[in-house]
Symmetry: C2
Subunit: 228 residues, 2 copies
DNA sequence: GAGACGGCGTGACGAAAGTCACAGCGGCGC
DNA sequence: GCGCCGCTGTGACTTTCGTCACGCCGTCTC
């Protein structure tokens, strides 16, 4: 799992810190708290006071909203090198979403004061935040578009495309991230598990994917985008 | 309409520029192009090359996505003092949404190079952008939550609350912005005009609003939030 | 190996929302 | 004043989705 090209510290690949020297990175790292997480661990809850800035060292974290009756809508997944929860750090408000680990791993946590100090010491950090925010905004607009315009089958198709395991590349036969459950897809698509099962059946009928032994494979890389 | 407290130039109330002196503001204004708009005018289209940063001087602008079959989803309305289309200016990508005027007014347009110059000359501008982006992200997350969790009647109730005419204050009998059509509400709620008509009927039945002569009034300020 | 648990497949049903169709009304322009 | 157009109100029907209720299977634990 350890990347051999990683120069020093656990986050040379984090956009925020990639411009720093190894020395500076070490000093930044000193301000972070480290935490290991196991699947299901809740890192922070929406509405509570700012939990600080998080950086994923390894593993996978989901950011989601919960409805009064318990339904979950995943807003985004964060993997190694991704950071999250910038918004409350910068505007001082409560956490906008809840974060929970999906796969075991480690995260770094920078308290709000620590981040504001970093911002003072490394002005380039501010520019990086703007870039990150811009990308988040595009992502959220795309999610709104998805929820508003597309029906469930199309949303599931898009989710499968985005969950393609990067190790296997794109193309026929590519597999989806190990063990994506139907419930997880449902939380991303904003629907129920049963409806996802039916959507997958429909995609299988359209020869877009093959579901075998619980794993999903893309059979025709051209068909899936057409359906989404 | 003109604010008597406005010191100089048309945008002392724009968050970006409120920290500047009158002199600086004048110099900034010199870099903007001015444009009057009439209802229906399209300012820029999603997917096209960055149209620059816009500031609303007066009037009302809607930002929306269009689906392949012509349905519209309004992402946000922008009124006097609001700015929009920052994202492509800062990340260099295409416009994420389409913008069109809803009410007649005027906008200022800063080209991308002009904004990048401003950013260089006035570093505080960068911090302001971060604040604006944070607020946009919160707004979009709330929109996702709305689309994913609430059904149409609840969404309409929330839209009415947000469209309260600020001049009339909050409370019983407050009116909604002059002449909000059902089609406009439908575009915000991500549904069709007919469904909005029925949702309004339901809200009327719950004694939350009164619809008379095409205008919507809040009858009981306590009921509406409860339904949303 | 027995049971508990979580994920999956599917049928049946009801609720919500989208669609079509059409009629009335009011304002605006010629 | 007349006609056109856009907004509204509403009935009827269809589609999509959400939900309930199962049964099946594989894995993990004791």
């Amino acid at each position: 799992m350890e990347q051999p090209t990683r120069p020093a510290g656990p986050f040379a690949s984090v956009p925020y810190f990639s411009g720093l020297t190894d020395d500076e990175r070490a000093r930044v790292a000193a301000r972070a708290r480290r935490r290991s997480v196991r699947p299901g661990d809740v890192l922070f809850v929406e509405g509570e006071e700012c939990a600080g800035l998080f950086v994923v060292v390894s593993g996978l974290v989901k950011l989601y909203k919960t409805s009064p009756d318990g339904k979950e809508q995943v807003v985004r997944h964060m993997g190694a090198g991704d950071s999250f929860n910038e918004v409350p750090v910068f505007d001082g408000g409560p956490n906008p979403v809840t974060a929970a680990a999906v796969e075991p791993g480690e995260v770094l946590i920078f308290s709000r004061p620590a981040v504001l100090e970093l911002l003072r010491d490394y002005p380039a950090f501010g520019a990086a935040v703007v870039q990150v925010f811009a990308s988040r905004l595009r992502h959220l607009v795309a999610l709104v578009e998805d929820l508003s315009f597309r029906q469930v089958t199309a949303r599931v198709a898009r989710i499968l495309l985005q969950s393609l395991d990067p190790h296997e590349g794109i193309g026929a036969g590519a597999g989806v991230r190990a063990r994506v459950t139907q419930r997880e897809i449902a939380e991303m698509a904003g629907t129920s598990r049963e409806v996802v099962a039916r959507a997958l059946k429909a995609l299988e009928g359209a020869h877009a994917v093959e579901v075998r032994a619980g794993r999903i494979r893309i059979s025709d890389p051209a068909v899936l985008p057409a359906l989404s």
